[in-house]
């Protein structure tokens, strides 16, 4: 396995410049190093096999209202099963549960949270939240259904080659994208999101209603925040619809914390899920950001729009540490790249590594393991087109990528050398070549289907291999190339391994990844 990032003097010099650039607040999207950020990627949600999935988002700012888009993408092709906007007041937490309707099998999002959303409460569960009851504290319990219209031809996106049914929505992953912040002391629109006597979620949500007779107009306030220098919005101007939000909100800040868990309601066991957090997803074109006073445009959009998404990253620039050195790159099309490459470059992985435990141990316990492997940007490369690093356009059965895998037991024995004594570290011995074809799938070492997933694969293990670790490789993965020639080889991947013992879930362990970043040439973004 090639690791071609050499520690040359040039590279060291580049790293020094990169470090300097980072300290100069020239920001690029990066994997958050402190758990706070602007984008959260929850690698798996499911309502199958008795599971509920819960998600929560914290606004850690004590000053700003934070607006974010939450989107539930189905597992096969990442089509949109539901998305909507949420408006967190300062220091607020929003929680929701993804579960399934007993009678119809339609997944839904349910919340008793008092945080504002758009859409707000209505009468049609396929178009808004509807009130279905009250909590013991008297708070309304609201529910909104997921939908299959994004893959059965019901949207402009059109049909895809996969099945049309709602079952596709029963598992997938979640992307949460902060759209902007606003100071409720300066913005009337933002003040409607703040808990208290001034909260008015209905009016806030209705601001998106541009139907003339029902339109909710606002007067642009703008005082205290000066982030719309490139737009025509002026204080006192009357605006409505998304323009109102664009006028009143500024660029996102790294203030959101994301959490999620799975609960199997029949057994009462739970597992906390690792969430991949991206920081600096959206900054001014020059990449600068004042964490205390946002001064760039936001990316607010209508609740019914499928934007923003991971392609909305701006500037299209990523920053990561590879082999101890900073790597920063732009993706402005010079090397035939696209903006979402900035996100993909951060997650690009040649291999995925995690542990397994399977079968009866000495105690007679029943160990089982399920891996979740999610490619959160894959649809930008395969849905109706084909771009590297992926191998196949989405079609009937999905968009398959080639995988191989090798494994060890806990005493570093691999199947090909079982019984032998080998030096450590031992070269991995791929034992097979096959494919996985969805955007989110589960892989069960040793067999089974812990999540009752529709996108499940079995990783077969030779007898006697009941615990150890596995390296899953993507041998046919292509590369993303940055504007300055840096090559990121592998597939953008997130996920975790969940081990159970006697039905009791342990912690979900995030995957480890081997990355291949090579040909670092220069630092064309550095000042």
């Amino acid at each position: 396995m090639k690791k071609s990032f050499a520690r040359t003097k040039i590279a060291a010099a580049v790293a020094a410049v990169m470090a300097a650039s980072a300290s100069m607040s020239v920001q690029a999207v990066n994997i958050s190093d402190n758990g706070l950020g602007e984008v959260g990627l929850v690698p798996y949600y499911t309502v199958r096999n008795g599971f509920d999935t819960n998600v929560s988002v914290v606004n850690t700012s004590n000053r700003y209202v934070a607006a974010f888009k939450i989107r539930f993408r189905e597992a096969l092709n990442s089509r949109d099963a539901r998305d909507f906007n949420v408006y967190l007041s300062p220091n607020d937490v929003w929680t929701a549960t993804i579960s399934v309707d007993p009678a119809t099998g339609i997944p839904f999002i349910q919340t008793a949270d008092t945080t504002c959303t758009a859409p707000w409460i209505g009468t049609n569960p396929n178009a808004s939240f509807v009130e279905i009851g009250q909590t013991a504290e008297g708070l309304p319990i609201k529910r909104m259904n997921m939908t299959n219209i994004a893959w059965n031809g019901g949207t402009l996106e059109g049909n895809d080659a996969g099945p049309d049914g709602i079952e596709r929505a029963q598992e997938g992953y979640i992307e949460i994208i902060e759209m902007g912040v606003a100071d409720p002391n300066a913005s009337m629109l933002a003040s409607w999101a703040v808990h208290g006597p001034g909260q008015n979620c209905s009016v806030l949500a209705n601001t998106y209603n541009t139907t003339a007779a029902q339109a909710q107009h606002i007067f642009v306030t703008g005082s205290g925040m000066n982030c719309e220098s490139n737009t025509p919005y002026l204080p006192g101007q009357v605006v409505t619809g998304n323009e109102a939000f664009r006028a009143e909100f500024c660029e996102p800040l790294n203030i959101l914390k994301f959490s999620a868990n799975l609960i199997q309601v029949t057994s009462g066991v739970a597992a906390e899920l690792p969430v991949t957090t991206l920081a600096n997803f959206l900054n001014k074109p020059d990449g600068s950001e004042n964490p205390n006073l946002p001064d760039g445009d936001d990316i607010s959009d209508f609740p019914q729009f499928q934007t923003p998404n991971l392609e909305s990253v701006r500037p299209a620039r990523s920053l990561q540490i590879n082999d101890g050195l900073f790597v920063q790159d732009d993706f402005n099309g010079i090397a035939n790249n696209i903006a979402v490459d900035a996100v993909s470059s951060l997650l690009s992985s040649e291999t995925v590594i995690n542990e397994y435990e399977f079968g009866g141990g000495a105690s007679g316990a029943d160990f089982r393991t399920a891996w979740v492997v999610t490619f959160p940007t894959k649809h930008h490369y395969v849905d109706g087109l084909l771009r590297a690093p992926f191998e196949n356009t989405f079609g009937v059965g999905g968009s398959c990528v080639t995988v191989d895998y090798g494994y060890y037991n806990r005493e570093e024995l691999a199947p090909a050398t079982s019984g032998a004594v080998i030096p450590s570290p031992a070269p991995i011995q791929p034992v097979n070549v096959s494919v996985i074809c969805a955007e989110t799938q589960t892989l069960n070492p040793g067999g089974g289907n812990l999540f009752d997933s529709q996108r499940n694969y079995e990783i077969q293990l030779e007898p006697g291999y009941t615990s150890g670790w596995i390296r899953l490789g993507f041998p046919q993965a292509g590369s993303i190339v940055g504007d300055n020639g840096t090559v990121y080889t592998g597939l953008p991947t997130i996920g975790f391994s969940l081990k159970t013992t006697l039905g009791v879930f342990g912690n979900a362990t995030p995957h480890s990844f081997e990355r291949n970043v090579s040909n670092v040439q220069s630092c064309n973004s550095c000042p």
């Binding site: 929560s56 549960t97 309601v265 009462g268 077969q460």
Partner: protein
């Protein structure tokens, strides 16, 4: 040859398991099964099964795992102790109650699928509880004139 392949349909394993279960040679009726005489008085097999399902969930709702254990197949109880059984349950859910929606007994008469609406409180990732309800499917087998819960 080692292969990574799509998973076999669960129904295949279910059928295999069910058939295996009903042929377990050493069935014994546990003395802990205190509801036997009551259920025997109920007229139809469906009603008897519904009663068993409800009683099992009453036990779980009260977190009376000893009582719930008595509904497991004798074969299971021979391989898993009460403490092992109890270890399968976590504390992330408070069960509030269960309602049987439907009982469907196979033509062979020795196994059934039961649709249950389960009401519960679950734990959110950052704390706090949410209340919900969802449908679950349970599988039961009959042996020596009694229904037993089958775990997947």
């Amino acid at each position: 040859m080692l292969l990574m392949r799509p998973y076999l349909p669960p129904i295949f394993l279910l059928v295999t398991f069910c058939l295996t279960s009903v042929w377990l040679p050493e069935f014994e009726i546990s003395s802990a099964n205190a509801v036997e005489s009551e259920s025997a008085r109920v007229a139809s097999p469906e009603q008897r099964l519904q009663k068993r399902v409800e009683q099992r969930w009453e036990a779980l709702t009260e977190r009376n795992f000893e009582a719930a254990y008595a509904f497991e197949t004798p074969g299971y109880r021979k391989t898993a102790s009460l403490s092992q059984f109890q270890a399968q349950f976590g504390s992330a859910v408070n069960w509030l109650g269960a309602t049987v929606r439907s009982v469907e007994i196979a033509d062979s008469g020795d196994r059934a699928e039961v649709q249950v609406n389960l009401r519960y409180q679950g734990r959110s990732p950052l704390g706090g509880l949410y209340t919900s309800e969802r449908a679950i499917t349970e599988r039961w087998i009959i042996s020596k004139d009694e229904w037993w819960y089958v775990r997947d």
